[in-house]
Symmetry: C2
Subunit: 333 residues, 2 copies
């Protein structure tokens, strides 16, 4: 593990993308997005994921030059076809459109089909919040989780994001509907530690905290058990219905392309004074921060708080990059 400067990482990713027929603008956006995710501590969808993204590019599963196309416009809602272009540039574009629709109608929604993995969902929450907008975004995925009561992966862990702009630090909730991501489960395995709570099923069909056993079955548990299972099913229905795209069960387990996403934005400047808004958010946060700790050393956080602290640390001291990931990336150039 060593630390590298944001700009250095970004330039190297940019060069790799340029060498693979990405336009300058798109290469810049994608290089910056992956670097930002690692900078924010979401390594799994930042640098660690970059080699897999490039593998999809090299297989021709992602169309690096395709442009998303608006295929329907219905008042405050638009429908776009992602044309299998990169997930990051498609999602960035659709967030921009949802922001525009929110400027026009106070709230707007863009539903996107035939797109690809958006990497870290929080990216689009931060993007909207930087523009002063509230965002609610979600994606479907391939089947990677068993529905409650079943023992095969038939639902996705469909991540969703809710972001609220705030001067002292945006509030950004970015969560998958599984209790732990596979990236997190793998981290516990590498440290030879148990998960703090059951994170999936072993091959005998029992819930377990053992990361190795969960990785062996590939069966993560939904967050909130039956609740996360139900929520994720509804998100898949909405994503496919609003975009007229593919639901989870039509997405190939070994080739996760052509998924659907939804981007809803709200413009708070239409109905609220920025200072009053921030005062409200600060008050809610203070009240929760001030709670007596459950155990000595425990702290409560608002969603996005730890991300911002990590970002600031990494901007000052460099972004930690594992040697093996860095080697894989250098091998792409």
């Amino acid at each position: 593990m060593h630390r590298l400067a944001f700009e250095k990482i970004e330039e190297i990713l940019f060069d790799i993308l340029k060498n693979h027929d990405f336009s300058e603008k798109r290469a810049r956006l994608i290089a910056k997005t992956h670097t930002q995710s690692s900078c924010d501590g979401v390594y799994s969808h930042g640098l660690n994921r970059f080699p897999l993204f490039m593998d999809y590019v090299e297989r021709g599963w992602i169309d690096v030059t395709a442009e998303p196309e608006r295929v329907g416009s219905f008042g405050a809602l638009e429908r776009w076809d992602g044309k299998l272009a990169p997930g990051v540039s498609n999602a960035h574009h659709c967030t921009e459109r949802a922001i525009e629709l929110a400027r026009e109608h106070t709230l707007g929604c863009v539903a996107l089909r035939n797109t690809n993995h958006w990497m870290r969902g929080g990216t689009y929450g931060w993007q909207a919040a930087e523009e002063g907008k509230i965002a609610l975004c979600f994606t479907n995925t391939k089947p990677n989780m068993p529905p409650w009561g079943g023992r095969e992966n038939r639902i996705g862990n469909n991540p969703f994001v809710i972001a609220i702009p705030r001067k002292k630090g945006h509030v950004v909730l970015d969560m998958a509907t599984s209790q732990f991501s596979f990236g997190k489960i793998n981290t516990y395995k590498l440290k030879n530690e148990s998960l703090p709570f059951a994170g999936g099923w072993d091959k005998e069909g029992n819930l377990t905290k053992n990361p190795e056993k969960i990785l062996a079955t590939g069966q993560a548990v939904p967050a909130g058990y039956w609740k996360g299972s139900a929520l994720t099913m509804v998100l898949d229905m909405l994503a496919a219905l609003l975009s007229a795209g593919k639901p989870t069960h039509e997405i190939d387990d070994n080739k996760e392309v052509g998924i659907c996403q939804v981007f809803i934005c709200i413009d708070p400047e239409k109905f609220s004074n920025r200072d009053l808004k921030d005062q409200l958010l600060d008050d809610i946060i203070s009240y929760v921060h001030d709670v007596p700790a459950r155990k000595q050393g425990d702290r409560t956080f608002y969603p996005g708080e730890q991300t911002l602290a990590t970002r600031n640390d990494h901007l000052e001291n460099g972004i930690p990059v594992s040697e093996s990931v860095w080697e894989a990336i250098m091998g792409l150039s």
Copy 2:
């Protein structure tokens, strides 16, 4: 426990409400809503809750004749003041408005402040779905759950609802952000059974499955642990911000009035053919239904499926009412 016909229960509640200065129309709506919740198996917010609702009425905490007022109109978003009128009639009215806004703009949002407990959140999901609309609704509550890492109740269990209309049975997700409602925890206590998973904290600050110990501290655990804790915080922020109403920490623990709710509706008829929509939903449901069972006898359900089955049974065979609840209700007349 005996069973009573829907119409009989509804008439008795109607008469009680009429005797307490409710208008005929409002008495009809509230009587029907409470009866429907029990009919759908949500006893905790149906008949069981009616005496507490009437207690709030008798204390003058609910204004039985006040009418909600539109205080802002911003494109596809409206802001309403509930004037402390009954939560059910306010929420019903605002769902109607959100449906209207969705008809006009494809999606619409109503944010409501100074309202009261909406009883069962699913009510408004079913209402929108009956009108062919998709709905996403949420409410804040008094502080009734500790934030993750803290040991005092400082967040609400802010229920939310997502509904999608479907001919063979609407999909309606209706969930609080706690893993178990206090109503459910109490049911386990009465049966002298353990919860299947940790549902809250005991007075030593340990997570426990013992319903009695959780009821003693009043500290339920968020669904998905840190995830539900973060989600509910963001829902409170959105509810208070969009409506310019009170956040959870300003709501009195012993007098839960003046809360906020948000109703977002989408009109799928604007962008999708009804048969194709239903085919998509049926396909997703079939795929999940057909999963091999985790354990013999396990079944998977779509959100709303068990509600509909319960409703059909109760319409045919009567609605189960506990003697003590019925006695309390008869004492109100």
